[in-house]
Subunit: 320 residues, 2 copies
């Protein structure tokens, strides 16, 4: 059982009223009492229950937002969804984990970021089920739902090879990113190797999944990758950057160069030309993840969902 304010009060030999005052930073206690209560709190790992507090205060510190067209992954049937926008450097992640814990949510969908030790610790303390969406952890046995990134990258590379391409460059995330980086690089290299194709030095350029990095990476490739006929960017945004850069350089896609992406976001469809890309079943991922979260203990198993290649207009068939 999670410790309550009563447990703290008993252990610190004060009343719950005093604990409450201290926790809420009101006044009416000696420094000495404060110290004692505070250390009891951290010893016990006590965390305020925002639900009980909300009942008394008649305010739950939450605003509802009704809007159209938010990303599908934020929409999960049945339950309410509290969205926390973490920054990419993970700065606010722990903080948010705390509020989710205080509010006693039934489960947490964790996405995109690597599970750092501090997060794993927080998950354990919170005692709230977690599932990783479109992610996974080598270090902690957390259930996940994702696509097989290596297989997907391999398939896309093979697709390009089947279309007659032999000189293919890769724009990728970091090799150190064990989720969306390394596996996709592996898949690419593997397909090339299996086809007996070389990957010249400098033809694998690192970006950060965003537009600008794709643009920049394409600039580098244009300088050094002589003879390249296709570029595989491991995110749609980077592929769009590659598209823009190619366009600026006077290249026509796919006539002069083929470009493919990864994700199948709305942007892929709106690109000029429409982007051939790896489709991730985002909506289903969300649904399956929720099912895992809310299901029984035995149902709490990871799942790998099938990916697909959606063909649009950014690849040219090259005849040799």
């Amino acid at each position: 059982m999670r410790p309550t304010i009563k447990d703290v009060a008993k252990k610190a030999k004060v009343s719950t009223a005093t604990v409450s005052r201290i926790v809420n930073k009101l006044d009416g206690y000696s420094d000495e009492t404060r110290e004692r209560v505070l250390s009891t709190i951290s010893a016990l790992g006590y965390r305020r229950n925002a639900v009980a507090r909300g009942l008394v205060r008649r305010s739950v510190n939450t605003v509802g937002v009704l809007l159209q067209g938010i990303e599908t992954r934020a929409h999960l049937l049945g339950h309410s969804v509290i969205v926390c926008n973490t920054s990419s450097d993970g700065e606010r992640t722990i903080e948010y984990l705390d509020v989710l814990g205080e509010r006693r949510v039934d489960g947490i969908l964790f996405t995109s970021e690597r599970v750092k030790p501090a997060y794993a610790r927080a998950f354990k303390e919170l005692a709230i089920p977690v599932v990783l969406v479109s992610s996974f952890s080598r270090d902690y046995p957390l259930p996940y739902v994702k696509v097989d990134d290596e297989a997907a990258a391999r398939d896309m590379t093979r697709y390009l090879i089947d279309k007659g391409h032999r000189r293919i460059a890769l724009i990728t995330g970091s090799e150190k990113d064990s989720i969306a980086g390394a596996p996709r690089i592996r898949g690419f290299r593997r397909a090339m190797k299996e086809a007996g194709l070389p990957v010249p030095e400098g033809w694998v350029v690192q970006g950060d999944f965003h537009y600008k990095s794709g643009y920049r990476a394409m600039g580098e490739l244009l300088e050094r990758a002589r003879g390249m006929t296709a570029v595989f960017a491991t995110s749609d945004e980077m592929a769009l950057g590659a598209l823009s850069c190619s366009f600026s350089a006077g290249l026509r896609v796919p006539a002069d160069l083929s470009v493919v992406g990864y994700d199948d976001t709305l942007d892929a469809e709106m690109a000029i030309p429409p982007l051939t890309t790896v489709h991730q079943p985002i909506r289903e991922m969300g649904e399956r993840a929720t099912a895992i979260l809310l299901g029984s203990e035995e149902e709490r198993r990871s799942v790998i969902l099938p990916h697909a290649i959606v063909e649009r207009g950014s690849v040219k068939e090259v005849v040799r």
Copy 2:
């Protein structure tokens, strides 16, 4: 005061236990009791308090989602945010309003959709403050934060005129849409009129703000708008559609045709060419709206935020 389960019990002359059973659809009551309680409930306008329920049940029917890169407008400092993804036909809106009410959120940010009478009624019953974001209502005195759509559309049209364009077409939302439709059409027509420029029959084409409709609209314009040198689409997505369609038709933007949008989404920046568009201060709108929601009664005033035109690469200066 909102009625509680006690009020219902007293009025229906049963215990709260019985009311609870009925509300939760358990068994253990006669049909007669059920009818009586149910009608008392609707007479009183009773709605279950999900906070109290969550305290007892130790489950709040909420899952937290931690993710990176969700739309800024869903991120509001301090408070937790529950996101409800309404469909564009407003199908689930009332339903969601209900759960937000049950969960006793401190306020509701309502966006995009017109305030229908049923919503206005729900707002009143819920007794939860509401603010309209990037929207407003002629019929109900709800506070809003938005940009002046008519002025923005007029400014963008003038911008085009200043660049030497005289034959300008408009791709717009519905004339009946009093939020994002009519005002922008008015702004456009007004600027044209002030400059003594004609708007030929058929040069104003209706879309639905999405990509495909922009593509289709552009197709129509290409057929009938002879001599057109610029197109103003009142959403970035429609502008992207116009871009794609122009590209397919072999037109170069901006060399052969200038295209501008409205919104300044991420897509505008990634377009080929980068799109000149009307910027709405989305982030600030969210912050101001929250401030209105959480502020005191006097602070509950509407605000109109300044728009801006961000110049990128989709407009050509035409010399006459």
